[in-house]
Subunit: 190 residues, 2 copies
Amino acid sequence: MKELKDKILKEGVAIGTQIVKVDHFLNHRLDIRFLDRIGAEFSKRFAGEEIDKILTVEASGIAVASMAATYFDYVPVVFAKKAAPSTMTEGFYEAEARSFTKGTVSKFKVSQRFISEGDRVLIIDDFLAHGEASLALVNIVRQAGGKVVGVGAVIEKGFQGGSDKLRDAGCRVESLAIIDRIDDGQIYFR
Amino acid sequence: MKELKDKILKEGVAIGTQIVKVDHFLNHRLDIRFLDRIGAEFSKRFAGEEIDKILTVEASGIAVASMAATYFDYVPVVFAKKAAPSTMTEGFYEAEARSFTKGTVSKFKVSQRFISEGDRVLIIDDFLAHGEASLALVNIVRQAGGKVVGVGAVIEKGFQGGSDKLRDAGCRVESLAIIDRIDDGQIYFR
Protein backbone atom coordinates (compact mmCIF):
# COMPACT_ATOMS: atom_id res chain seq x y z
CA MET A 1 0.00 0.00 0.00
CA LYS A 2 1.93 2.97 -1.31
CA GLU A 3 0.22 5.58 0.86
CA LEU A 4 1.22 3.60 3.95
CA LYS A 5 4.85 3.28 2.89
CA ASP A 6 4.98 7.02 2.22
CA LYS A 7 3.52 7.68 5.65
CA ILE A 8 6.02 5.37 7.37
CA LEU A 9 8.89 7.17 5.62
CA LYS A 10 7.46 10.59 6.48
CA GLU A 11 6.27 10.03 10.06
CA GLY A 12 8.03 6.86 11.21
CA VAL A 13 11.25 6.90 13.22
CA ALA A 14 13.83 4.15 12.75
CA ILE A 15 15.49 3.08 16.01
CA GLY A 16 18.56 0.87 15.70
CA THR A 17 18.07 -2.02 13.29
CA GLN A 18 14.95 -3.62 14.81
CA ILE A 19 12.39 -0.96 15.64
CA VAL A 20 10.32 1.51 13.68
CA LYS A 21 8.29 3.87 15.80
CA VAL A 22 4.98 4.92 14.24
CA ASP A 23 3.29 6.40 17.27
CA HIS A 24 2.24 9.43 15.23
CA PHE A 25 -0.50 7.50 13.44
CA LEU A 26 -0.75 3.92 14.71
CA ASN A 27 0.47 3.31 18.27
CA HIS A 28 -0.33 6.32 20.43
CA ARG A 29 -1.85 9.04 18.28
CA LEU A 30 -4.35 7.40 15.92
CA ASP A 31 -4.84 8.99 12.52
CA ILE A 32 -8.46 7.90 12.19
CA ARG A 33 -8.93 9.13 8.62
CA PHE A 34 -5.88 7.11 7.59
CA LEU A 35 -6.83 4.04 9.64
CA ASP A 36 -10.18 4.13 7.87
CA ARG A 37 -8.34 3.71 4.56
CA ILE A 38 -6.22 0.95 6.11
CA GLY A 39 -9.48 -0.80 7.01
CA ALA A 40 -10.74 -0.43 3.44
CA GLU A 41 -7.49 -1.94 2.14
CA PHE A 42 -7.88 -5.00 4.39
CA SER A 43 -11.40 -5.48 3.05
CA LYS A 44 -10.00 -5.48 -0.51
CA ARG A 45 -7.30 -8.01 0.41
CA PHE A 46 -9.80 -10.36 2.00
CA ALA A 47 -12.67 -9.68 -0.44
CA GLY A 48 -14.88 -12.70 -1.02
CA GLU A 49 -13.98 -14.33 2.30
CA GLU A 50 -16.77 -15.03 4.73
CA ILE A 51 -15.78 -13.50 8.07
CA ASP A 52 -17.73 -13.79 11.31
CA LYS A 53 -15.47 -11.74 13.56
CA ILE A 54 -12.16 -9.98 13.79
CA LEU A 55 -9.70 -10.89 16.55
CA THR A 56 -6.93 -8.56 17.69
CA VAL A 57 -5.00 -7.84 20.88
CA GLU A 58 -5.02 -4.82 23.17
CA ALA A 59 -4.11 -2.02 22.86
CA SER A 60 -2.71 -0.92 19.50
CA GLY A 61 -4.66 -3.45 17.45
CA ILE A 62 -8.05 -2.21 18.62
CA ALA A 63 -8.37 0.93 16.50
CA VAL A 64 -7.23 -0.75 13.28
CA ALA A 65 -9.48 -3.76 13.85
CA SER A 66 -12.46 -1.53 14.67
CA MET A 67 -12.04 0.64 11.58
CA ALA A 68 -11.58 -2.48 9.43
CA ALA A 69 -14.73 -4.07 10.87
CA THR A 70 -16.85 -1.29 9.37
CA TYR A 71 -15.77 -2.57 5.93
CA PHE A 72 -16.65 -6.17 6.79
CA ASP A 73 -20.33 -5.45 7.34
CA TYR A 74 -19.65 -4.29 10.92
CA VAL A 75 -18.67 -7.73 12.23
CA PRO A 76 -17.81 -7.73 15.94
CA VAL A 77 -14.22 -7.30 17.08
CA VAL A 78 -12.83 -9.33 19.98
CA PHE A 79 -9.61 -8.20 21.57
CA ALA A 80 -7.40 -10.56 23.56
CA LYS A 81 -6.49 -9.23 26.99
CA LYS A 82 -2.99 -9.33 28.35
CA ALA A 83 -4.20 -9.57 31.95
CA ALA A 84 -7.41 -11.07 33.28
CA PRO A 85 -9.63 -8.35 34.77
CA SER A 86 -11.39 -9.03 38.06
CA THR A 87 -14.66 -9.35 36.14
CA MET A 88 -13.28 -12.16 33.91
CA THR A 89 -14.52 -14.92 36.12
CA GLU A 90 -15.59 -17.54 33.60
CA GLY A 91 -13.48 -19.77 31.35
CA PHE A 92 -11.09 -18.30 28.84
CA TYR A 93 -8.69 -19.51 26.18
CA GLU A 94 -5.10 -18.60 26.84
CA ALA A 95 -1.88 -18.51 24.80
CA GLU A 96 1.58 -17.13 25.51
CA ALA A 97 3.28 -14.47 23.40
CA ARG A 98 6.78 -13.16 23.91
CA SER A 99 7.45 -9.49 23.07
CA PHE A 100 10.99 -9.01 21.81
CA THR A 101 10.62 -5.22 21.94
CA LYS A 102 9.48 -5.19 25.55
CA GLY A 103 11.39 -8.27 26.70
CA THR A 104 8.27 -9.67 28.35
CA VAL A 105 5.95 -12.66 27.98
CA SER A 106 2.21 -11.99 27.94
CA LYS A 107 -0.57 -14.49 28.39
CA PHE A 108 -3.30 -13.52 25.95
CA LYS A 109 -6.77 -14.33 27.20
CA VAL A 110 -10.09 -14.51 25.34
CA SER A 111 -13.34 -15.43 27.02
CA GLN A 112 -14.72 -18.74 25.77
CA ARG A 113 -18.02 -16.98 25.15
CA PHE A 114 -16.61 -14.89 22.34
CA ILE A 115 -15.15 -17.42 19.90
CA SER A 116 -17.26 -20.41 18.94
CA GLU A 117 -16.70 -23.62 17.08
CA GLY A 118 -16.91 -22.99 13.35
CA ASP A 119 -16.32 -19.23 13.62
CA ARG A 120 -14.44 -17.80 10.64
CA VAL A 121 -12.00 -15.37 12.21
CA LEU A 122 -9.82 -12.69 10.63
CA ILE A 123 -6.84 -11.75 12.80
CA ILE A 124 -5.73 -8.12 12.47
CA ASP A 125 -2.83 -6.47 14.23
CA ASP A 126 -0.74 -3.33 13.91
CA PHE A 127 2.64 -5.06 13.62
CA LEU A 128 3.84 -8.45 12.46
CA ALA A 129 7.39 -8.96 13.72
CA HIS A 130 8.51 -12.34 15.11
CA GLY A 131 4.92 -13.52 14.83
CA GLU A 132 4.52 -14.35 18.52
CA ALA A 133 1.38 -12.28 19.03
CA SER A 134 -0.35 -13.45 15.86
CA LEU A 135 0.55 -17.11 16.54
CA ALA A 136 -0.94 -16.79 20.02
CA LEU A 137 -4.17 -15.48 18.46
CA VAL A 138 -4.17 -18.34 15.91
CA ASN A 139 -3.69 -20.76 18.80
CA ILE A 140 -6.68 -19.27 20.61
CA VAL A 141 -8.95 -19.45 17.54
CA ARG A 142 -8.01 -23.10 17.05
CA GLN A 143 -8.53 -23.95 20.73
CA ALA A 144 -12.08 -22.69 20.22
CA GLY A 145 -12.59 -24.81 17.12
CA GLY A 146 -12.69 -21.75 14.87
CA LYS A 147 -11.06 -21.26 11.49
CA VAL A 148 -8.44 -18.57 10.84
CA VAL A 149 -9.39 -16.96 7.53
CA GLY A 150 -6.15 -14.97 7.48
CA VAL A 151 -3.83 -12.64 9.32
CA GLY A 152 -3.71 -8.98 8.31
CA ALA A 153 -0.87 -6.79 9.54
CA VAL A 154 -0.49 -3.09 8.94
CA ILE A 155 3.32 -3.23 9.06
CA GLU A 156 5.41 -6.37 8.74
CA LYS A 157 9.07 -6.42 9.72
CA GLY A 158 9.96 -8.97 7.08
CA PHE A 159 13.42 -9.66 8.51
CA GLN A 160 11.99 -10.99 11.78
CA GLY A 161 10.39 -14.08 10.26
CA GLY A 162 6.85 -13.85 11.59
CA SER A 163 5.01 -14.31 8.29
CA ASP A 164 6.93 -17.50 7.47
CA LYS A 165 5.96 -18.96 10.84
CA LEU A 166 2.31 -18.05 10.21
CA ARG A 167 2.35 -19.60 6.72
CA ASP A 168 3.95 -22.73 8.18
CA ALA A 169 1.01 -22.80 10.57
CA GLY A 170 -1.32 -22.79 7.55
CA CYS A 171 -2.38 -19.14 7.63
CA ARG A 172 -2.76 -16.71 4.78
CA VAL A 173 -0.90 -13.48 5.60
CA GLU A 174 -1.57 -10.03 4.16
CA SER A 175 0.79 -7.23 5.24
CA LEU A 176 0.13 -3.75 3.90
CA ALA A 177 3.79 -2.69 4.09
CA ILE A 178 6.78 -5.01 4.47
CA ILE A 179 9.99 -3.57 5.85
CA ASP A 180 13.07 -5.46 4.69
CA ARG A 181 15.72 -3.65 6.64
CA ILE A 182 16.21 -0.81 9.13
CA ASP A 183 19.67 0.63 8.99
CA ASP A 184 21.31 3.86 10.08
CA GLY A 185 18.01 5.69 10.50
CA GLN A 186 16.74 4.49 7.11
CA ILE A 187 13.77 2.21 6.41
CA TYR A 188 13.92 -0.06 3.36
CA PHE A 189 10.80 -1.76 2.00
CA ARG A 190 10.62 -5.10 0.21
CA MET B 1 -29.81 6.85 25.11
CA LYS B 2 -32.62 4.33 25.27
CA GLU B 3 -31.00 1.77 22.97
CA LEU B 4 -27.95 1.69 25.24
CA LYS B 5 -29.99 1.21 28.40
CA ASP B 6 -31.89 -1.64 26.74
CA LYS B 7 -28.60 -3.23 25.72
CA ILE B 8 -27.16 -2.92 29.24
CA LEU B 9 -30.27 -4.60 30.67
CA LYS B 10 -30.19 -7.34 28.03
CA GLU B 11 -26.45 -8.07 27.84
CA GLY B 12 -24.94 -6.57 30.98
CA VAL B 13 -24.30 -8.57 34.13
CA ALA B 14 -24.64 -6.94 37.55
CA ILE B 15 -21.98 -8.07 40.02
CA GLY B 16 -22.53 -7.14 43.66
CA THR B 17 -23.52 -3.49 44.14
CA GLN B 18 -20.60 -1.80 42.35
CA ILE B 19 -19.89 -3.52 39.04
CA VAL B 20 -21.76 -3.99 35.79
CA LYS B 21 -20.00 -6.21 33.30
CA VAL B 22 -20.60 -5.26 29.67
CA ASP B 23 -17.86 -7.26 28.00
CA HIS B 24 -20.33 -8.52 25.42
CA PHE B 25 -20.34 -5.20 23.55
CA LEU B 26 -17.93 -2.72 25.15
CA ASN B 27 -15.01 -4.19 27.09
CA HIS B 28 -13.85 -7.38 25.40
CA ARG B 29 -16.14 -8.18 22.48
CA LEU B 30 -16.82 -4.92 20.63
CA ASP B 31 -20.18 -4.55 18.93
CA ILE B 32 -18.89 -2.29 16.17
CA ARG B 33 -22.28 -1.55 14.63
CA PHE B 34 -23.55 -0.45 18.02
CA LEU B 35 -20.38 1.51 18.91
CA ASP B 36 -20.85 3.36 15.63
CA ARG B 37 -24.25 4.55 16.88
CA ILE B 38 -22.66 5.45 20.24
CA GLY B 39 -20.18 7.58 18.30
CA ALA B 40 -23.03 9.29 16.43
CA GLU B 41 -24.75 10.03 19.75
CA PHE B 42 -21.61 11.71 21.15
CA SER B 43 -21.45 13.88 18.04
CA LYS B 44 -25.05 14.99 18.69
CA ARG B 45 -24.30 15.77 22.34
CA PHE B 46 -21.26 17.86 21.45
CA ALA B 47 -22.67 19.35 18.23
CA GLY B 48 -21.42 22.86 17.53
CA GLU B 49 -18.25 22.41 19.59
CA GLU B 50 -14.94 22.84 17.85
CA ILE B 51 -12.86 19.77 18.60
CA ASP B 52 -9.24 19.21 17.55
CA LYS B 53 -8.72 15.76 18.97
CA ILE B 54 -10.22 13.08 21.15
CA LEU B 55 -8.33 11.77 24.18
CA THR B 56 -9.03 8.41 25.76
CA VAL B 57 -7.13 5.72 27.67
CA GLU B 58 -6.11 2.21 26.67
CA ALA B 59 -7.63 -0.27 26.19
CA SER B 60 -11.42 -0.16 26.37
CA GLY B 61 -11.72 3.51 25.44
CA ILE B 62 -9.97 3.11 22.10
CA ALA B 63 -12.79 1.54 20.07
CA VAL B 64 -15.43 4.00 21.29
CA ALA B 65 -13.17 7.00 20.75
CA SER B 66 -12.20 5.79 17.28
CA MET B 67 -15.78 5.22 16.16
CA ALA B 68 -16.77 8.61 17.60
CA ALA B 69 -13.92 10.35 15.77
CA THR B 70 -15.47 9.42 12.42
CA TYR B 71 -18.42 11.65 13.38
CA PHE B 72 -16.16 14.57 14.36
CA ASP B 73 -14.68 14.96 10.88
CA TYR B 74 -12.15 12.17 11.55
CA VAL B 75 -10.17 14.10 14.15
CA PRO B 76 -7.19 12.14 15.53
CA VAL B 77 -7.53 10.09 18.69
CA VAL B 78 -4.78 10.00 21.29
CA PHE B 79 -4.85 7.27 23.89
CA ALA B 80 -3.03 7.58 27.20
CA LYS B 81 -0.78 4.64 27.98
CA LYS B 82 -0.72 2.95 31.34
CA ALA B 83 2.93 1.95 30.97
CA ALA B 84 5.70 3.68 29.04
CA PRO B 85 6.82 1.50 26.11
CA SER B 86 10.54 1.18 25.39
CA THR B 87 10.06 3.41 22.36
CA MET B 88 8.58 6.27 24.45
CA THR B 89 11.87 8.01 24.93
CA GLU B 90 10.88 11.66 24.76
CA GLY B 91 8.97 13.80 27.25
CA PHE B 92 5.47 12.90 28.29
CA TYR B 93 2.72 14.28 30.49
CA GLU B 94 1.79 12.02 33.36
CA ALA B 95 -1.11 11.77 35.81
CA GLU B 96 -2.13 9.14 38.35
CA ALA B 97 -5.44 7.31 38.33
CA ARG B 98 -6.61 4.81 40.89
CA SER B 99 -8.81 1.93 39.72
CA PHE B 100 -11.26 0.89 42.42
CA THR B 101 -12.32 -2.19 40.42
CA LYS B 102 -8.77 -3.43 40.00
CA GLY B 103 -7.35 -2.05 43.24
CA THR B 104 -4.38 -0.57 41.40
CA VAL B 105 -2.92 2.85 40.62
CA SER B 106 -1.94 3.58 37.01
CA LYS B 107 0.24 6.39 35.77
CA PHE B 108 -1.31 7.60 32.53
CA LYS B 109 1.23 8.88 30.04
CA VAL B 110 0.77 10.98 26.91
CA SER B 111 3.65 12.09 24.72
CA GLN B 112 4.14 15.86 24.79
CA ARG B 113 4.11 15.79 20.99
CA PHE B 114 0.44 14.83 20.83
CA ILE B 115 -1.33 17.53 22.84
CA SER B 116 -0.46 21.14 22.16
CA GLU B 117 -1.21 24.46 23.78
CA GLY B 118 -4.63 25.66 22.70
CA ASP B 119 -5.85 22.21 21.59
CA ARG B 120 -9.59 21.73 22.11
CA VAL B 121 -9.85 18.20 23.44
CA LEU B 122 -12.88 15.95 23.90
CA ILE B 123 -12.30 13.19 26.46
CA ILE B 124 -14.18 9.95 25.75
CA ASP B 125 -14.16 6.82 27.86
CA ASP B 126 -16.20 3.65 28.24
CA PHE B 127 -17.01 4.08 31.95
CA LEU B 128 -17.29 7.00 34.32
CA ALA B 129 -17.20 5.68 37.88
CA HIS B 130 -15.23 7.47 40.60
CA GLY B 131 -13.85 9.78 37.92
CA GLU B 132 -10.20 8.97 38.56
CA ALA B 133 -9.38 8.08 34.96
CA SER B 134 -11.21 11.06 33.44
CA LEU B 135 -9.68 13.48 35.97
CA ALA B 136 -6.22 12.17 35.08
CA LEU B 137 -6.96 12.86 31.41
CA VAL B 138 -8.23 16.37 32.26
CA ASN B 139 -5.03 16.93 34.24
CA ILE B 140 -2.93 15.88 31.23
CA VAL B 141 -4.81 18.16 28.81
CA ARG B 142 -4.33 21.09 31.19
CA GLN B 143 -0.63 20.35 31.73
CA ALA B 144 -0.31 20.72 27.95
CA GLY B 145 -2.17 24.04 27.96
CA GLY B 146 -5.13 22.54 26.12
CA LYS B 147 -8.82 23.08 26.78
CA VAL B 148 -11.19 20.26 27.79
CA VAL B 149 -14.31 20.72 25.66
CA GLY B 150 -16.10 18.01 27.61
CA VAL B 151 -16.07 14.48 28.92
CA GLY B 152 -18.22 11.85 27.23
CA ALA B 153 -18.83 8.53 28.96
CA VAL B 154 -20.75 5.60 27.55
CA ILE B 155 -21.86 4.37 30.98
CA GLU B 156 -21.80 6.41 34.17
CA LYS B 157 -22.15 4.77 37.55
CA GLY B 158 -23.91 7.77 39.05
CA PHE B 159 -23.58 6.55 42.64
CA GLN B 160 -19.76 6.68 42.53
CA GLY B 161 -19.53 10.46 42.23
CA GLY B 162 -17.25 10.87 39.22
CA SER B 163 -19.37 13.32 37.27
CA ASP B 164 -19.67 15.70 40.26
CA LYS B 165 -15.88 15.75 40.60
CA LEU B 166 -15.51 16.49 36.90
CA ARG B 167 -18.10 19.31 37.04
CA ASP B 168 -16.29 20.73 40.09
CA ALA B 169 -13.18 20.70 37.91
CA GLY B 170 -15.03 22.83 35.37
CA CYS B 171 -15.86 20.11 32.82
CA ARG B 172 -19.06 19.50 30.93
CA VAL B 173 -20.05 15.84 31.27
CA GLU B 174 -22.25 13.85 28.90
CA SER B 175 -23.03 10.27 29.91
CA LEU B 176 -25.15 8.19 27.55
CA ALA B 177 -26.57 5.99 30.32
CA ILE B 178 -26.47 6.72 34.06
CA ILE B 179 -26.82 3.83 36.47
CA ASP B 180 -28.24 4.87 39.83
CA ARG B 181 -28.02 1.60 41.67
CA ILE B 182 -26.96 -2.01 41.24
CA ASP B 183 -28.74 -4.31 43.63
CA ASP B 184 -29.41 -8.02 43.82
CA GLY B 185 -28.55 -8.61 40.18
CA GLN B 186 -30.70 -5.69 39.03
CA ILE B 187 -29.54 -2.49 37.32
CA TYR B 188 -31.51 0.71 37.94
CA PHE B 189 -31.09 3.77 35.73
CA ARG B 190 -31.47 7.39 36.75
